[in-house]
């Protein structure tokens, strides 16, 4: 893969990240943080790939990584959902 392209993607992603959050009411600070935290559980993709790395240690590290990342994703999205339920209109 072209390094420069990857880098371009990275830069653009940062711009998008910068732009999409403009104003957030304080009541949403925690859910937003929690939700985007869950997204950082994308590390799970890396973890899954890591399991294929030859050599016992790599795979085992991969397993732990999968567990960690899953906790991050699953827990993150669920907890966010719970928080947001509080905002539902009665």
């Amino acid at each position: 893969m072209d390094m420069i392209n990857i880098f371009t993607v990275f830069i653009l992603a940062i711009f998008v990240g910068n732009e999409i959050i403009t104003k957030v009411p304080p009541t949403l600070h925690t859910p937003l943080m929690s939700g985007s935290n869950a997204i950082s559980g994308i590390a799970i993709v890396g973890a899954i790939i890591a399991t294929k790395i030859d050599g016992g240690l790599g795979a085992w590290l991969g397993l732990v990584a999968v567990i960690f990342a899953t906790i991050n994703c699953v827990g993150g999205f669920m907890v966010t959902n719970r928080m947001l339920k509080m905002f539902k209109r009665k």
Partner: protein, 459 residues
């Protein structure tokens, strides 16, 4: 491989949409769902496309992780949400570090590692590990395992600096191939772990949300770095997204507390919270801006306006009326709660609001309005103080004990506008300002309402 990458791009797009929707009360829940769908797509695409995967291992990992994560998420009490986020975040950072480490160990022997790759690996491990330990300290502080007070010791900054230098040194040894000992790598991990701890413990409990948000941003960066290691678009985009948006969010949160980020991280002023300086016990409160208030109001159905003497001082009655009209135009129910002794003369608020032509049937007296607060979404307190002070209900020693008050605190959110944290006529602190569901918006009432009106129009 093409389709996998396409799936990653799709996932990233869903993440973008998800985060965008998360920043407005109306769309937040769907945003979360969309983001989680993106995650599912990314996982499935990965599992389907890479060969040589150990499905058993992955299955076990995902099942174990799901059980742990969901148990935590479902069991936790509402009040413990922030520490939950901290823990999850720590795991995320840890995962990134582990993946990078696996890559390192996997390729260690083969001397395949170019300086760029090894550099990113070390970055990923460093940030991931720091996030991991830092998040757990944050969790501990909020949960009460570690003292919520800032823990400061002499030379803290110097020690931190030394550790950073150490990591840099060890890292460059590895990158430039000066020394390939595994021990160097372990050293980095160790120092990063320590650094996560020493950077977090001096920060007070009240500032923790900001720190968690910052660490969240870090874990995004770690994921992105891991993406560079694996040359994986999905990780790079999503990580960068979270990294950048997390940083913005952190800044917004700091601004809401009227602090700079540097002040939060290095301040370690030994104070837990923002406090008012004049007399009496100190109250910690959340302060916000009119555009945030506008968003809170946007999500509301029923709004009660509580005018007080400050509204009269600011001569902001017309501005208040404008805001109420705008809210009504947005389909909300708006009422005015008139406390019998609001202002400085009997009927002060009536005179004021009549001047602004507020229809009489919208003015409710104490007896009529108090039951309404229970199902009120937002109460806007405009320059009122004593008449909404909950101390009147329970603080027997208070000079206002026994006075009937407007139960604004019963509404879902309370927006309080006044210029400072100074007390009102009775000269006493108002605990309402520190309540969980209260947001302060400081400023002259007229100015604040004019801005709020503008922001409501702009929604």
């Amino acid at each position: 491989m093409e389709y996998t990458n396409l799936a990653y791009v799709l996932a990233a797009v869903l993440f973008i949409i998800g985060i965008k929707r998360l920043s407005s009360p109306k769309t937040a829940q769907s945003g979360n769902t969309i983001a989680s769908i993106g995650m599912l797509i990314a996982i499935i695409a990965t599992v389907l496309s890479f060969e040589l995967l150990d499905f058993k291992l992955i299955g076990v990992g995902i099942i174990v992780g799901t059980i742990i994560g969901s148990t935590f998420a479902l069991r936790v009490q509402m009040t413990q949400m922030p520490q939950m986020v901290a823990i999850f975040n720590g795991f995320g950072g840890g995962a990134s570090a582990l993946v990078a480490a696996a890559e390192y160990f996997g390729k260690y022997d083969t001397t395949e590692l170019g300086s760029f790759i090894s550099g990113t690996i070390i970055l990923s491990v460093f940030i991931g590990t720091l996030t991991f330990s830092g998040s757990f300290i944050a969790f501990g502080k909020l949960q009460g395992f570690v003292s919520g007070k800032p823990i400061v010791f002499k030379g803290q900054q110097i020690i931190n600096a030394l550790m950073v230098i150490g990591i840099l040194l060890l890292g460059s040894f590895i990158i430039f191939g000066v020394n390939q000992e595994l021990n160097l790598f372990y050293g980095i991990v160790l120092l990063a772990l320590l650094l996560g701890i020493t950077l977090t413990i001096p920060i007070g409990g009240a500032d923790m949300p900001v720190v968690i948000s910052l660490l969240n941003s870090y874990s995004g960066i770690a994921a992105s770095a891991t993406g560079f290691v694996l040359m994986n678009n999905g990780l790079i985009i999503s990580g960068a997204l979270v990294g950048a948006s997390g940083l913005i969010l952190t800044n917004i949160m700091c601004k809401g507390m009227n602090r700079s980020l540097a002040n939060v991280i290095f301040g370690a002023v030994g104070l837990d919270e923002q406090t008012s300086n004049d007399g009496g016990e100190q109250i910690s409160f959340k302060s916000s801006t009119t555009d945030e208030a506008a968003m809170i109001l946007d999500a509301a159905d029923k709004v009660i306006i509580v005018p007080g003497y400050g509204l009269a001082v600011a001569q902001a009655q017309h501005a208040a009326r404008e805001v109420a009209d705008q809210l009504e135009a947005m389909g909300k129910t708006v009422l005015y709660a008139i406390h019998p002794v609001a202002g400085r003369m009997p009927g002060h608020m009536n005179v004021l609001l009549a001047e602004a032509n507020v229809p009489y049937d919208k003015l409710k007296d104490l007896d009529d309005i108090n039951p309404e607060f229970e199902n009120c979404d937002v109460a806007i307190v405009l320059g009122a103080n004593d008449v909404v002070n909950p101390a009147a209900r329970h603080e027997t020693s208070s000079p206002i004990y026994g006075m009937p008050i407007l139960d604004v605190d019963k509404s879902r959110t309370v927006i309080v506008n006044k210029r400072t944290m100074n007390p009102g006529f009775a000269g006493i602190q108002n605990e309402l300002f520190g309540f969980e569901n209260t947001v302060m918006v400081f400023g002259d009432a007229k100015e604040m309402l004019t801005n709020l009106f503008k922001d409501l129009k702009e929604l």
